[in-house]
């Protein structure tokens, strides 16, 4: 059985949530947000290891959390970088499989099947994505500068799966050139010849970023995860 590594990004420090604790440690229906993802992944045999990148000051708290939830997987927590891109690169240097699945701890509505779809896909590099239902324009200073055809755009969602070595080499090139990216499909596209396939994501798989996201999170949990509403 081919094994994959999960790289779980847990870099938030709570600024946009206006909280003293990072959003991924806030409780969602009784459990820390990050635990929702970890407990689901814990059931996936094909995931051989989990690397979590996290700010140094939260490593001990996260270690204790993982002990309390009695998870089976091998989990390694490392200090993240100053940027998301740095954190991913640091994580890539730690993994022991040729395939890596990258996910964000602040997206707790990822289902087991979402991971399994990536694992079972024939594509080495694949990302969830959604059509954009609204208009996005480019701006310059305070003026609209360019129209964008939304039918050509995609709202990228995590999780994503990549060939680990290809992504690592692309990161090295990006580091050499000093370029920054907000996610890894665009980074890989820029610095390798590899294609990244897109698979349909879900409107429910939101990233909890703002206080409003947190307010609606319990409703999404009950409706989408527990199927109660």
């Amino acid at each position: 059985m081919k094994k994959h590594s999960l790289l779980l990004l847990s870099g938030g420090i709570g600024t946009r949530m206006q909280q003293d604790i990072p959003k991924q440690h806030l409780l969602l229906f009784g459990r820390p947000i990050i635990i929702h993802t970890l407990e689901r992944v814990d059931k996936i045999e094909e995931i051989g290891e989990i690397i979590i990148t996290c700010p140094k000051q939260y490593i001990e708290e996260l270690e204790n959390m993982i002990i309390n939830y009695n998870l089976n997987k091998s989990i390694k927590i490392i200090q993240g970088g100053n940027t998301r891109q740095e954190s991913v690169f640091k994580g890539l240097t730690e993994i022991n499989n040729n395939s890596v699945i990258i996910h964000e701890a602040a997206r707790p509505f990822v289902k087991l099947a979402d991971f399994e779809n990536l694992i079972n896909s024939e594509y080495s590099n694949i990302s969830y994505g959604l059509d954009i239902p609204f208009t996005v324009l480019k701006k310059k200073d305070d003026y609209i500068s360019e129209n964008l055809n939304r039918s050509e755009l995609v709202n990228i969602q995590l999780p994503q799966k990549f060939n680990a070595e290809e992504l690592k080499q692309a990161h090295i090139k990006a580091k050499e050139e000093g370029t920054t990216f907000t996610e890894d499909a665009s980074l890989l596209l820029k610095y390798s010849n590899s294609k990244v396939n897109i698979i349909n994501g879900s409107d429910y798989n939101i990233k909890i970023t703002t206080p409003v996201d947190y307010k609606i999170a319990e409703i999404i949990y009950k409706d989408y995860i527990l199927n109660e509403i």
Partner: protein, 232 residues
């Protein structure tokens, strides 16, 4: 083979529940807990001969021992499918006569031990799903002058059970709470010493309900306080 843990199994509702479940589900493993080993052995003798029964004497007010025991059960058998918390404590006194020690012991046995047992069992149960049932009391639903420690501990147990029903749902764990009314147990004798026990509900009748809830018939009854009361 399913693994059951039943507390308070030396007498009353706990004893009747252990006996009933073993006859309804012979062949499963029953770990029965109470302080008095000799009484646990008496319960074991009445359980189905094909059941695997392990007696574990323990004082549930000692949290460290409870934690150690549940972890050893989980490690040894790899699963805990059913946790049935029946053990109870009462020492009825008026407010002005209730000592801190009385209040603490009541809460230690009736709610703290249930929390500890649940937390430790869920660490294993979350991998397979399962059922947790707590025996509260109708005393937890209304004013009971002279029983304030007992009745408020049972109110806490009802609330805890309902919360667990939501919090543990994604694990496939169902949390039940039953509140028996007057039932012919030793505990009841302390609350109502003048009462004729033959005229009120018997522990076996409560055990019948519990056994139903632990089977498929109970799958849609979790998360709500179920009152078991003989109508007069």
């Amino acid at each position: 083979m399913k693994v059951y843990i039943i507390t308070g199994a030396s007498k009353g509702i706990g004893k009747s529940t252990a006996i009933k479940l073993s006859h309804d589900n012979p062949g499963d493993l029953y770990i029965i807990l109470a302080r008095d080993l000799s009484k646990l052995i008496e319960t074991k003798k009445l359980m189905h001969v094909d059941s695997n029964v392990i007696t574990k004497p323990i004082d549930l007010s000692d949290s460290d021992k409870v934690i150690k025991l549940i972890r050893s059960i989980g490690d040894e058998y790899g699963r805990i499918d059913y946790l049935i918390n029946v053990a109870g404590y009462v020492n009825p006194k008026s407010l002005l006569e209730t000592t801190v020690e009385n209040w603490e012991m009541t809460f230690k046995v009736n709610i703290l031990s249930v929390f500890v047992l649940t937390r430790e069992a869920v660490r294993f149960m979350k991998k397979t799903g399962g059922k947790i049932l707590n025996v509260a009391s109708t005393a937890g639903l209304s004013s009971r002058p002279g029983w304030s420690a007992y009745s408020s501990s049972k109110a806490a147990l009802i609330s805890f059970s309902k919360t667990m029903s939501d919090e543990l749902e994604e694990y496939g764990i169902k949390s039940y709470v039953v509140s028996p009314g007057r039932c012919a147990t030793d505990l009841r004798k302390q609350l109502a010493p003048e009462e004729d026990p033959t005229t009120i509900m018997q522990p076996e009748e409560v055990a019948d309900v519990i056994s139903n809830l632990m089977g498929e018939n109970g799958n849609n009854l979790d998360g709500q306080n179920i009152i078991i009361r003989k109508q007069l």
